[in-house]
């Protein structure tokens, strides 16, 4: 028995909450649901904090290395003598950190939703799904083996699907939920292939033995390679495609902007802070394998991350839907984390990128959740998503304004706030190993500051449209999470993160890289200043700029037509040349055969049904005659032999 046995409570309690609420969702009053759900998640939060305290402070590193524990474990599925799938809880640096992220944001979102969803008919359903999501996500981050992570990977996908399509009477929400599910599911196919390929060659599903560099020599990784890639590189690239689907990396990012159809708290929890970083977490989980077994796969991660980051930032500059700007910002920031992982090496000072990426994941979760919750408060107050119909809100929504400003400063990398520290680490790591990624990330830093302040100025300053109802700050249930998250957005930057999270388990001593900090601060100030000039007061400058770069603007505004490309490929190629012939074959050949069998049976039956006359003596006559004939044949046969 070990000290972390109790960690099974962390996923189990939200599961219990889900079951209790979902089976009573027509019966429970809203108040009871709110108390139950928040209480359950609050309990989980407390247990997670206790786990983190016990892991980092009470136990601490053993011989300078943070150990990995299996807190709780049982055999879930036995597939023969050598193969079995376990379920359990893995306690190590990354999982404990994720526990804190997930439970903190989840708790905040629960509290916020009490206010936000107050008048919604689906109140109970909403909380049940939130609990389901929390359960799946917590089990995902604590997965002890690849199969467990895959199972819960799908479950968070399902919860995301359910919550995006929460307003299921709205066709756009239904379409968005389907899109999200299909795109991520498509990526998960590659994830599964990667798992199978890796496990087949390595012979274990278990993360602890899979990621231990001392074991790498014993793995049987020889074998033919596809496309000139080694086996581990191919397997890890396939796994990364799965992670890219969940984390909305280019070109699988198309589902995330549409996922904003869900309620704002859902966007904050799932599509900003937790589920979408699952891909980053997955790469981080297998980081030793990426870094030591297949550096080319890790390089791909870095380039995809950097490109996505830049790509999404450019789109975010042009969007006019409040939540879509934030969605593209999320894609961009996740690209940042991926790039951070991609430029990292394993172990020691060289592992700075890994630590920076996790750090950014942590801080990003706080300020991006805050941004989404703030967006929810604004949308709640003005009843529109378009930032063109907002403006001057600082006068009406004072608290929301302040918290939103803090989050905006944090994401823009303003010195002293959390985003500044984590971004600085990533940029430093990129500078040390890959100039291409470094410049891309630097440009993104500027763009981020620009589009976030464009959003901020357009919503809270600029011209004030005519509001039918005077907007006002939301109630306490919504304000308290905003304030707490704002504090966290400031304070989390001061955590000496390298002490807790590092690629090889040894505490990493980091310090502020002053030269890097100066450059990135200058870049973000430039972005902020530009946004200030263009958007603080109403002016025609933005329009003139748009006119002077109309082609680029149009492309960025239409998200570089990626959605259209997908539609073209699916409709005009896959549907026309694959699905339709298959459908024809199914309808005419397969169904035709079955229909023919049925037709023959029915027709024959009609023809011979006259034999069933109901006249008992006819039957008896047939019976007796047949007996006589058979007896005669038998006798004839016996006599002849």
């Amino acid at each position: 028995m070990n000290a972390f046995e109790y960690t099974f409570l962390i996923p189990f309690v939200p599961l219990l909450g889900f079951l209790i609420i979902i089976f009573n969702f027509n019966r429970f009053p809203k108040k009871l649901t709110a108390v139950l759900a928040t209480g359950f998640i609050g309990f989980t939060f407390v247990v997670s904090i206790y786990t983190a305290w016990q892991y980092f402070f009470q136990m601490g590193p053993v011989n300078g290395v943070y150990p990995k524990f299996i807190g709780f474990d049982f055999e879930w599925l036995k597939l023969g003598d050598h193969l079995s799938v376990h379920m359990g809880t893995l306690i190590d640096q990354a999982s404990v950190m994720m526990l804190i992220v997930v439970t903190t944001v989840s708790l905040m979102v629960h509290i916020y939703s009490i206010g936000y969803m107050h008048d919604d008919r689906g109140f109970n359903r909403f909380f049940a799904f939130l609990q389901l999501f929390s359960f799946s996500m917590l089990s995902l981050v604590m997965a002890t083996n690849v199969f467990q992570i895959y199972i819960f990977w799908e479950l968070v996908g399902v919860s995301s699907f359910l919550l995006i399509g929460f307003y299921y009477e709205k066709p756009s929400a239904v379409a968005a939920s389907k899109k999200a599910f299909i795109v991520t599911r498509f990526a998960d196919l590659f994830f599964l292939l990667g798992i199978l390929l890796l496990s087949f060659h390595v012979g274990t599903f278990d993360f602890i033995s899979l990621t231990n560099p001392e074991n790498f020599e014993s793995f049987n990784l020889s074998g033919y390679a596809l496309f000139g890639l080694s086996i581990p590189a191919l397997a890890l690239i396939l796994i990364f495609i799965g992670g890219a689907g969940k984390s909305a990396m280019f070109p699988l990012h198309i589902w995330l902007p549409d996922a904003m159809e869900g309620p704002s708290p859902v966007s904050a929890l799932i599509h900003a802070a937790t589920m979408v970083v699952a891909g980053v977490y997955l790469v981080a989980r297998l980081f030793a394998n990426y870094a030591l077994m297949a550096p080319e796969a890790l390089a791909l991660v870095g380039y995809v991350g950097a490109f996505t980051s830049l790509f999404a930032a450019v789109i975010a500059v042009t969007q006019i839907d409040f939540k879509r700007v934030l969605a593209f910002s999320t894609i961009s920031q996740i690209g940042y984390m991926m790039a951070g992982l991609g430029v990292s090496h394993y172990g020691g000072e060289e592992g700075l990128g890994y630590m920076a990426s996790m750090f950014h994941l942590f801080t990003h979760a706080m300020f991006k959740a805050l941004l989404f919750l703030g967006a929810g408060a604004v949308i709640h107050a003005v009843h529109t998503n378009s930032i063109r119909e907002m403006g001057g809100l600082r006068k009406y929504m004072k608290t929301t304004h302040i918290t939103f400003l803090i989050a905006t400063l944090a994401i823009a990398g303003f010195p002293g706030l959390s985003g500044f520290f984590s971004k600085d680490e990533i940029i430093t790591a990129a500078y040390q190993s890959n100039p291409l990624v470094y410049y891309a990330l630097l440009v993104v830093a500027g763009l981020t500051a620009f589009y976030m302040f464009r959003l901020y100025f357009l919503v809270f300053w600029n011209t004030e449209p005519h509001y039918h109802l005077k907007p006002h700050d939301p109630g306490k249930a919504m304000l308290i999470p905003l304030i707490i998250l704002a504090l966290l957005s400031i304070l989390t930057g001061y955590i000496p993160f390298g002490q807790f999270i590092s690629s090889d388990g040894q505490p990493l001593h980091t310090h502020l890289h002053l030269d890097m900090a100066v450059i990135s601060t200058l870049v973000s100030f430039t972005g902020i200043a530009l946004a200030w000039m263009l958007y603080k007061k109403p002016s025609d400058m933005p329009q003139r700029l748009i006119a002077s770069a109309s082609t680029l603007y149009r492309w960025a505004y239409n998200k570089f037509y990626i959605d259209e490309v997908y539609l073209f490929v699916t409709r005009n190629i896959i549907f026309a040349y694959i699905s339709r012939p298959i459908a024809w074959f199914d309808r005419h050949i397969v169904d035709g055969t079955m229909n023919a069998i049925g037709w023959v049976t029915v027709t024959t039956s009609h023809k011979i049904k006259g034999l069933q006359s109901g006249q008992l003596q006819k039957y008896a006559f047939a019976f007796v005659s047949a007996v006589l004939v058979i007896s005669a044949l038998l006798v004839y046969y016996l006599l002849n032999n």
């Binding site: 049904k609 006259g610 069933q612 006359s613 109901g614 006249q615 008992l616 003596q617 008896a620 006559f621 007796v624």
Partner: protein
């Protein structure tokens, strides 16, 4: 005198009885008469049992017991059949087999 009777004689009698039963079952339209024909067939078989036992294996009594069994079962069967016939009569007001032809396709 009855000692001169052979197995063959008995079998001829039972065969005649059996086919009288079959004939009656196939031609008579009255359910009661048909039931009697069935009894005739059963008893023809009973005679066979007893005859085979007596002529071929006089040392044991299996055939006799079988005959007794058949008698008992025939009694039970007759009571069930009569009950069915009464039911039919109540429903159709007739015990003519040609009137009872509902059990078809």
């Amino acid at each position: 005198m009855w000692q001169d009777i052979t197995l063959q004689d008995v079998l001829i009698v039972s065969t005649l009885m059996f086919f009288s039963g079959v004939y009656g079952f196939l031609t008579r339209r009255n359910l009661i008469t048909m039931l009697m024909s069935v009894e005739l067939m059963l008893n023809a078989v009973n005679i066979n049992f007893v005859a085979f036992n007596y002529f071929l294996h006089p040392e044991n009594m299996h055939g006799m017991f079988f005959a007794l069994f058949v008698v008992v079962i025939a009694a039970a069967e007759a009571s069930v059949a009569i009950a069915i016939i009464i039911g039919i009569y109540r429903r159709f007001k007739s015990i003519n087999i040609e009137d009872v032809s509902n059990m078809k396709y």
